[in-house]
Symmetry: C2
Subunit: 109 residues, 2 copies
Amino acid sequence: MAVTSADRADALFHALSDRTRRDILRRVLVGEHSVSALAAGYDMSFAAVQKHVAVLERAGLLTKRRHGREQLASGDVEAVRSVASMLEELEAVWRGRIDRIDALLTEEN
Amino acid sequence: MAVTSADRADALFHALSDRTRRDILRRVLVGEHSVSALAAGYDMSFAAVQKHVAVLERAGLLTKRRHGREQLASGDVEAVRSVASMLEELEAVWRGRIDRIDALLTEEN
DNA sequence: ACAACATACAACCAATTGGTTGTATGTTGT
DNA sequence: ACAACATACAACCAATTGGTTGTATGTTGT
């Protein structure tokens, strides 16, 4: 049941691994968009786009806010930064900065 | 046939979306390891680990070098940085810095 | 020379993914 | 009031994924 940081990393990188989702994220980082406004931009069904939005939401990369009958999605830049941090940690490993301390901070916590 | 930057991004984020692969990447960023040395660290078959290494290699996150009968894998920190850059670009979109110029640099080039 | 080792890859399998259409449920504007 | 709209989600499907075992092919150390 415990959601580990590895689970979070899995969900974040998986969410980012699809180009449609990266594009949606780009748009909602600029500003709020309803699910249908987003869906209008892609050559696939509304349901497909709605699922992509749900994947981004579950990963924490966007949040939704009700506004009448619409759900307005906005990108969460903090989540994007948390992914960037994971990569910086990898760069730090490369630089040899971390060595053994690394065992405390990585994957299984 | 053309490998777009979107294809590269797909491969990079997909490669990073598995915790075993992130762990392998961490190890090969510290130093060279043969495929069997890597495989010894995980509770799965040699073949499974060999496939994970191949996924990382295809994404460009590690390179292999022959040494006798071994293949020594090392992490490519530049590839890690290129992923970090994509995230920085997303943060820049959020800051509103990019606006329309963005259209030139993103996804489809 | 050759047995043991290191790797690659094929064939297979169950689970997951990214798409589809259809249906149910709220919300709104006239 | 109610038709039209916005969303969510179920059921389905083909393709991909992450694992397995087995086999082929090099390379090495004695």
